[in-house]
């Protein structure tokens, strides 16, 4: 493993035992460490970048943004567990450094009956984009729909997840995640006391019983269409309380699909074509307050993106984003349900797997604002043990 040799006295919160590294000698480390920097520069015809770029890792201002500096620790804990932690550092437009513990979890390695348990702080396995870190994104920013449904930082919380790899000849896996429903990364759910959502104050969502947790079942399946084409599809549903009151509940359903063609004589994995799409629907049942009746808000969103790696190191692509909703004649104007669509074009050059240069143009069409034209350039560098990419 190409990584730094660390002293053996490195302890993650799960404890580090005598690890069996998933790599051959001469790896003499119990922990793989990597550091990934993402830097963006650019601007937009729209001065309010905050209102335009909803993702917490999106470029945050005209000029330069250090989107994130991600430190990843991972390795085998012992023969029974694998551990991973992703710590993110960001510099805000005000020059402050934010530290975020994005993920820190352990997964089982060898439970019987094709079961696997994950426990800790983790990105909920809902759809495709939610579980991916910015470094693997095909675009500079995250889709509008994920920001609307899951906030700027993705749906993630502390909890546990059970998954079962079904005994089918093709890949088919069932997941069930149970997590805390409150906190700043649960914008559609418990959120943060004192914030407002859909015109109502969040009054808190202490866990009084199992009904106060976020529950997310998911199914994913994959089919080899031909020797060179693979399809992966999934369906997810997240339900939990929202903090608007005792009757406040939210449910988000989603479907996702990913198709990839890769040449049989691929050099460095090129050429390829991949298509990814996700759709989500949210029902937000807000509880009655002293001044407002109980109301239901429904909204939805989707994105479709196509990427073509036409020669080693070079990828071009396009993405269409859309989101909108229906406030059912609600008492208050709700900007979170406004119709919005965005069209993006991207070109990326990967000098190696450890660096990239990217240029992206987006046209944003928001019902309440003038069209915005936005251009971002992005640079990435990666040090240390490069974690292998999932499909």
């Amino acid at each position: 493993m190409r990584s730094w040799t660390l002293p053996t006295a490195v302890f993650l919160s799960f404890g580090a035992g005598l690890a069996q590294d998933a790599t051959p000698p001469p790896a003499k480390n119990y922990l793989n460490l990597s550091l990934d920097g993402l830097l963006a520069v650019g601007g937009s015809t729209e001065p309010d970048i905050d209102g335009l770029q909803l993702g917490g890792h999106d470029p945050a201002q005209r000029g330069f943004t250090l989107q994130n500096l991600e430190v990843v620790f991972e390795g085998a804990v012992d023969p029974y567990f694998r551990g991973q932690a992703n710590v993110i550092l960001q510099i805000t437009p005000d020059g402050e450094t934010n530290v975020e513990l994005e993920e820190a979890f352990a997964t089982t390695s060898s439970l019987p009956a094709n079961l696997q348990v994950k426990a800790g702080q983790y990105l909920t396995e809902f759809g495709r984009i939610n579980t991916s870190h910015p470094h693997v994104w095909d675009f500079v920013d995250q889709p509008i729909v994920s920001a609307r449904m899951f906030g700027g930082d993705g749906l993630r919380s502390v909890g546990a997840r059970l998954s079962w790899l079904m005994p089918t000849p093709f890949y088919s896996e069932l997941f069930l995640a149970v997590q805390n429903a409150r906190g700043e990364t649960l914008t559609s759910f418990g959120a943060v006391e004192g914030d407002t959502a859909f015109g109502r104050p969040i009054v808190g969502s202490d866990v009084a019983g199992a009904g106060d947790l976020l529950v997310t079942p998911r199914w994913a399946g994959s089919f080899e269409l031909t020797d060179n084409q693979t399809l992966l599809v999934g369906a997810s549903s997240a339900s939990g309380p929202n903090g608007t009151g005792a009757d406040g509940k939210t449910r988000i359903d989603g479907v996702d699909a990913f198709w990839k063609w890769k040449s049989a004589t691929a050099q460095k994995g090129f050429p390829f074509v991949k298509v990814q799409a996700e759709g989500m629907w949210r029902t937000y049942d807000a509880a009655a307050t002293e001044t407002l009746p109980a109301e239901s808000f429904r909204d939805h969103g989707a994105y479709v993106q196509v990427l073509w790696g036409f020669k080693p190191g070079w990828v071009v692509g396009a993405r269409v984003d859309a989101a909108g909703g229906d406030d059912g004649g609600a008492a208050l104007e709700e900007p979170a349900l406004d119709e919005r669509s965005r069209y993006s074009l991207v070109a990326t050059w990967y000098p190696t797997e450890y660096s990239k240069l990217r240029l992206q143009y987006s046209r944003d069409d928001r019902s309440a604002y003038a069209d915005a034209h936005t251009v971002w350039a992005q640079f990435e560098f990666l040090l240390g043990a490069h974690a292998a990419h999932k499909f």
């Binding site: 190409r2 998933a22 390695s109 060898s110 790899l165 693979t230 050099q267 990419h389």
Partner: protein, 297 residues
């Protein structure tokens, strides 16, 4: 294809998964009908960049034995598959997890890990199976693993191994004789894939189209390659199915060299599917006949 594999797997004693085809071919030669072999990487694709497809995860979930190179060639795609496979039999450290490179002396072991020197493999050059001598070491290792996993058929595995070794000895003598007239000849290759092969058969492999391992050819570097090939009269450029033949042709046309198609994996070249000895036959013959032609000029 897949259904045939499953049918075979039902009848076989051991389900063996190999990351790349040369290990799968050795396993088949030793185990015959007693093992069902599935290979994850296509013989024509770049083995450093295989996709960690969910179907591979299902394959690994059912495996009794996993054979990987053990020299980090699969580093970019095998770990997430092992993680999702939920199969304790093939996890690192289990008897069913085979690192083929164990017991093989690897070359190009970097003194320091420094990616400014290209994409180095910390364990050394992973293309050791292009030396047939190393194929013998790996085959013996595999026979031991199969014996441990399926003691009832151990005698058959030993018989299979003996037959393979006997065939290998015969072929090795023939390959050595075929390449003997060209001892000391320098060759150009795309990536440092053929250093073990060159060392075994007395060729010199020190000119590469890649400026550094894994770094794509650049015009200034190719100019240096052309200069070196002209002054040292290097007669051939080796290219594999997933490497840029266009680049190789461009260099060859400027230096009078010949581009030769070779492969590291059974099935890389037509007619070599599933058979390591046939693959090496084809490689040796392609290289020897190209060198012969060059000598005649």
């Amino acid at each position: 294809m897949t259904s045939m594999l499953f049918a075979a797997a039902v009848l076989a004693n051991l389900k063996v998964v190999a990351t790349t085809g040369e290990y799968g071919a050795l396993a088949s030669a030793i185990g015959g009908p007693r093992i069902a072999v599935t290979v994850l990487a296509k013989p024509t694709e770049d083995p450093h960049f295989v996709d960690a497809k969910p179907s591979h995860l299902v394959t690994l979930n059912k495996a009794d034995v996993l054979i990987q190179g053990g020299a980090e060639l699969e580093q970019g795609w095998l770990p997430p598959l092992l993680e999702g496979a939920r199969n304790a039999k093939i996890l690192p450290g289990s008897p069913g997890h085979v690192k083929a490179g164990e017991g093989v002396t690897l070359i190009d072991v970097p003194a320091a890990l420094d990616r400014s020197q290209g994409d180095l493999h910390g364990a050394g050059n992973p293309h050791f199976m292009m030396d047939p001598g190393n194929a013998r070491i790996v085959a013996r290792h595999l026979a031991e693993v199969f014996c441990a996993a399926d003691a009832g058929s151990c005698a058959d595995y030993r018989t299979g191994l003996a037959a393979f070794e006997q065939a290998l000895d015969g072929r090795l003598a023939a390959w050595t004789a075929r390449l003997a007239p060209f001892r000391g000849t320098p060759i150009t290759t795309y990536h440092p894939t053929w250093k073990y092969f060159a060392a075994r058969f007395g060729l010199v492999s020190d000119v590469f189209l890649e400026p550094k391992p894994g770094i794509p050819p650049s015009p200034p570097h190719l100019a240096e390659v052309i200069t070196a090939m002209t002054s040292r009269r290097i007669p051939i450029v080796l290219v594999e199915p997933f490497q840029s033949r266009k680049t190789a042709e461009a260099v060859a046309s400027r230096t009078g060299a010949t581009v030769v198609s070779v492969g590291q994996f059974p099935g890389s070249l037509p007619g070599t599917e599933g058979d390591y000895l046939k693959l090496m036959d084809a490689n040796v013959e392609a290289i020897a006949s190209a060198l012969e032609k060059a000598k005649g000029r």
